[in-house]
Amino acid sequence: MLKKRDDFEDILEERRRSSDLRYALRCYTPTLYRGLVPCKASMLKSIVLQSDHLQYVIKQVSSESGESTEGVSEEASLILDEMAHCLQLSTIRFFAFTLSKAFKRLFRSVCVNEEGIQRLQQAVQEHPVVLLPSHRSYMDFLMMSYLLYTYDLPLPVIAAGMDFMSMKFVGEMLRMSGAFFIRRSFGGDKLYWAVFSEYVKTMLRNGYAPIEFFLEGTRSRTCKSLTPKTGLLNIVMEPFFKGELFDVNLVPVSISYERILEESLYARELLGIPKPKESTSGLLKARRVLSEDYGSMYVYFGHPVSVRSLAEGKINRSQYNLLPRYIPQKPSADTHEFLSDAAFRLVRIQEENMVLKPWVLIATLLLQNPDGLDLSSLAEQTDWLRHLALAFGAFLDWPDHEACSEVVSCSLALHRHLLSVSAGHVQLSVTDVPQVETTPEEAVFHQAVVVLSCASYRNQILHVFLRPALLAMAMQSANSNRKDDVYNGFNFLRKVFSNEFILCPGDSVQDFEEACYLLMKRGVLQVLEHEIVMSASGHSTLAFLSSVLDPFLQGYQVVCRYLCEETNENLTEKEFIPAVRSFALKLILAGNTCYEALSSDLQKNALAAFLRLKAVRKLCLFTFLFLCHTGGKIPTQKPILARL
């Protein structure tokens, strides 16, 4: 289970020793793809506009809409202008300089696995490369380009959301550093889709540059990996499916932060305090962040995953034989399944290679003990948890020769704004709130910000505990020790939480076995042929594991209760979140501690899960929800809810 992982190298060390200016102006000669068709950014546009695919769609759109083909072509050209990047080395050099300065102020170190870089160097030469970083912060793609520049790798072109474009100056800067902009939603717009997909594919086919995009689609506000999107993945795989490329290398990249820059911003956003619109002035105001200590940052380049080997035996490429390849084809059911499976696998690789700091363990413990802990017992429990996490394969960066108490106090110092420490007692609490009179509601929200911030650290390690925790919960709620009973409970929980966590659809047996194996290895369980029995010493581990998921279960229960108790027949989707939020607020004010139920992320996931499980029905797009709840219709859910 314990994987061999590469060692890290701190790239800031070199930056602290030598001139940033010289670094920004140094000779940059990236290794190139051997099949590279050299072409300029401007030529790229005309290749795209003249491609058979786009021409076909233009004619189609024109005949459907009655507009002239020239008109539609013009429109396509405008879309492309709005979208296209114009990568310039000078901009990259500018960023190399300024980011060096910024990174040195923000971070103690930026650690990169150099073996991963070497593998990437190899991969870049062999086949077109797609970089798939995790997305936790705005820093992510700046950092990616910065690193690739540092290591003399070709600079990526990056799929970015259109919202950046509205930041006047910065948008253009990003464009010049290789970002291209996609509208957030263009569901039915055939022409837009055609321009966009052809643009990406052309760059890939010609080996123009590595394509970089975020599988999760957006920054995760909770630091949990988000359910991956498959649209762009399909676009970058299609040239392989259609035989236009021999192979495509997908490189999952895990970027983790000891302390996230957007920490409290995210918490506020989740609590419904609206996200400030991206603007240049907003960014400047955020300068304050520059004066704080964000610890270390880790970037782990995973092993390149060949699309060809992923698709081996799963995709029958001859399905593309009977249609000219420029005619867009909706992915078949098989392809869909494959894409989603591949996307999940890639996100899991990202998760596994995510570096975890001791603070993550401490945050987990503090959340489980809302009344706080003594320092000594915190240290003791952290140490215990550390061993459990390691046994489950966590990628934990624990300082080598330091006493546990030392490590704990260092972590506490870095995250002191979330804590109150007095007389050897640590507790999560509001620290920097002015001591003016606040309403009880405000106080709840202040506390919730702290809890959600802290939860975002705990969430980083959830993927390690997830499967055993689901098993622990299933065992607690099962009526017997029989293996299939436990499995049914496990499977049900898995279904309920599949919007919340990364659980590959169709992997439930594997997940179950993995959970059994891990807990057995740890001596917590004995797995017999038909029974699963808890061992004498296993109680504390199981208790810990199931309380890891407790906040989620509680949150889902709150949503459920809201749907059962508060709503009449119809509810619009828009009203849902604020309504659940105030419902949860009421519960908290009445003494419940379900702070995480205030998170809009959890609320949305719960609703999506209920929809998927057909406990809730959507009547018509965007408007009404009809509940066909009333306990009896969702019988399997009962025992679990009853237990709480």
Partner: protein, 625 residues
């Protein structure tokens, strides 16, 4: 730019004309035979060139005539023995370097073949005595001599030849029978049905689809029906330009005998020295000059085939019919599973007045394919047009014989300088198209100009007749070269496909790369030779031919690795929109993909035809279905 290059080209040609006497240009009626083996002139054409005991003139464990083979002489120079070919007796100075450089082979490391057939390794025949006696009573020529039987137990797949070279003999036919006319065949088939024996028709023995292998599960006596003695041209109809020919005749004899009467069929598959008319029909063969004459299905007017149900044929010689599905198409490509083709009426044409080779060099393969596509679009393809990739271009170069005159070598140097330095072609990317024009002189020259003009638009430079001719020579000697490779731990083979134009480049690249990759994954130490060429153009696509060979020193089961790689390459072809086969056929080698290729219903149709025609499975070679 184009006019510039063509005027420069013109100048070069003039220089060439001054420097070299070109006797060929005067006697313009030289036929394609220049490349292939020439039958001794003294022999009367009515004599049978293929004896019953083929092993007397042909190798029992390799390709072609016993007297013709490549070898490295004591000085380490490659030479080609015998007198039959243009290359015969010549030294090929650059072959050794190419061979060692391409395969990492070494002349010190030899892997010689078993010199002669070990008769004790051949299982005694499992005879159906009453059948054999009935055959003899009918006056048919029969043999169960082990050499005769072994000779007819294989085609020329790598695994078949490799096993023979190692002296391993598998299941072989138990009896060989030589019918000498249609009636003989009827008799044999009737007796086979009566005695329930398995018949495997045997024509030229050049199959590369395991079609001649005896099925392992066959428990009946297996009889090889050798058609070689049915080799007469029965009549020629000059009014309708047709010839009625017995199906056992081999390509070169047919062509030579027709030539003597002033005609030709124009059907010239690369195997035409040895392959038979019946074999062409049974595999849906394709000839290199199909652009003028058509493939075998375009050439046949009438086919007579003996099946267990009786004789199948059409009632007239009408050029086209609307009488339901064409019954010829049940026969064409039936691969010996339904019966024996005995007589065929073929279209013939007057021997062309003038023939001219040519070649064009392109800066890269993409440009070359684009040019061929344009030629096909304008429907002005010469008799033959083939595009070799860079590796094959270099391969062709390695086969250049020692030049006799200092002027020729000077000229070669000049050409090379012109192309690589003056025109800036990268020697590691350039590729060459070989051309063959045929027809009356004026039209050929006009046609030639049209094609070269198109080529110029794609950056192509005319590169002379020699290069063209050498390209075609390569196809006739390639099989001999494989035997040379096998003497030095190098094994290889070719396979082909057909594919729509827009996928040609992708398919070529992907299949070549797949081969390289599969070899690497299977522990082949030295990168393989993985090369392709586009050999035929059609309105809607092209035929692509792959050569694949590697050095197997240090591998315990090279043939198995070879087969795995070829299997993977075929998967890749199918995944890239290529067909299962353009003209080699399915045999037993590619059977597993038949259903996916023609759909379950399609396969069912074919099976039901087999069921009706041959319910006892007398023609039990197990091909195709």
């Amino acid at each position: 730019m184009a006019s510039n290059s063509s005027s420069a080209q013109q100048r070069l040609r003039i220089i060439a004309g001054h420097l070299q006497k070109r006797p060929e240009e005067e006697n313009a009626s030289v036929a394609a035979q220049e490349c292939k083996a020439e039958a001794p002139r003294s022999e009367p054409s009515s004599a049978t060139p293929v004896p019953r005991r083929r092993q007397e003139i042909m190798k029992w464990n390799g390709w072609g005539y016993s007297d013709s083979r490549f070898l490295f002489n004591k000085k380490g120079q490659a030479e080609f023995t015998g007198k039959r070919y243009r290359l015969s007796g010549l030294i090929l100075p650059s072959l050794k370097d190419w061979f060692e450089g391409t395969f990492g082979a070494n002349l010190q490391h030899r892997s010689p073949a078993t010199p002669s057939l070990n008769l004790s390794a051949v299982a005694p025949p499992h005879l159906n005595q009453p059948f054999v006696e009935d055959l003899k009573a009918a006056g048919l020529s029969v043999s169960h001599d082990p050499e005769d039987r072994v000779f007819r137990a294989h085609g020329h797949c790598l695994h078949e030849v490799f096993a023979l070279r190692e002296g391993r003999i598998g299941r072989v036919p138990d009896v060989v029978v030589w019918p000498s006319c249609h009636n003989d065949v009827e008799k044999i088939v009737e007796l086979a049905c009566k005695h329930n024996v398995c018949l495997i028709p045997y024509g030229g023995g050049t199959s590369v689809s395991s079609a001649l292998e005896c099925p392992r599960e066959e428990t009946r006596s297996i009889v090889s029906l050798d058609t070689s003695q049915m080799n007469r041209i029965l009549w020629i109809d000059e009014k309708n330009l047709t010839a009625h020919v017995e199906a056992g005749i081999i390509g070169q004899d047919l062509e030579r005998q027709l030539n003597e009467r002033g005609y030709c069929t124009g059907h010239e598959p690369d195997s035409m020295e040895f392959s038979s008319l019946g074999g062409w029909v049974a595999t849906r063969a394709s000839g290199m000059k199909k652009n003028i004459y058509g493939n075998i299905e375009d050439l046949v007017v009438h086919i007579k085939m003996v099946t267990p149900r009786g004789v199948i044929e059409k009632s007239c010689l009408g050029p086209r019919m609307s009488t339901g599905p064409d019954i010829h198409h049940f026969i064409l490509g039936s691969e010996g599973t339904l019966g024996v083709v005995t007589e065929v009426t073929l279209k013939i044409r007057p021997v062309p007045e003038y023939q001219k080779y040519g070649s064009v060099v392109f800066p890269n393969f993409q440009q070359g394919v684009a040019c061929l596509r344009e030629v096909a679009r304008q429907r002005c393809a010469p008799a033959s047009i083939r595009l070799m990739d860079n590796e094959q271009f270099q391969f062709g170069h390695a086969l250049k014989p020692q030049v006799s005159s200092i002027f020729t070598s000077f000229l070669d140097g000049l050409k090379k300088f012109y192309i690589t330095k003056f025109k800036g072609f990268d020697p590691h990317h350039l590729c060459v198209a070989t051309l063959l024009f045929e027809g009356d002189r004026g039209k050929v020259l006009q046609h030639e100009k049209q094609v070269y003009d198109i080529a110029a638009k794609f950056g192509g430079l005319a590169a002379g007749e020699d290069n063209g001719q050498r390209g075609y020579m390569l196809t006739f000697v390639i099989a001999y070269l494989r035997d040379l490779g096998m003497d030095y731990y190098v094994i290889g083979e070719s396979f082909e496909t057909s594919v729509p134009w827009d996928r040609v480049l992708d398919l070529c690249r992907n299949v070549k790369e797949r081969i390289v990759r599969e070899c690497k994954e299977r522990g082949v130490q030295f990168p393989p030779l993985s090369t392709c060429r586009v050999t035929q153009t059609y309105d809607a696509g092209a035929c692509v031919y792959f050569y694949f060979a590697f050095n197997y020193r240090g591998l315990s089961d090279p043939v198995h690795i070879y087969e795995q790689v070829e299997h993977a390459a075929r998967e890749e072809i199918l995944a890239n929109g290529g067909s299962l086969s353009h003209h080699h056929g399915v045999g037993k080698l590619r059977k597993e993909w038949m259903k996916a290729s023609v759909s379950g219903v399609g396969l069912g149709m074919l099976k039901s035809v087999k069921e009706y025609v041959d319910p006892q499975n007398i023609f039990g070679n197990g091909n195709l279905l």
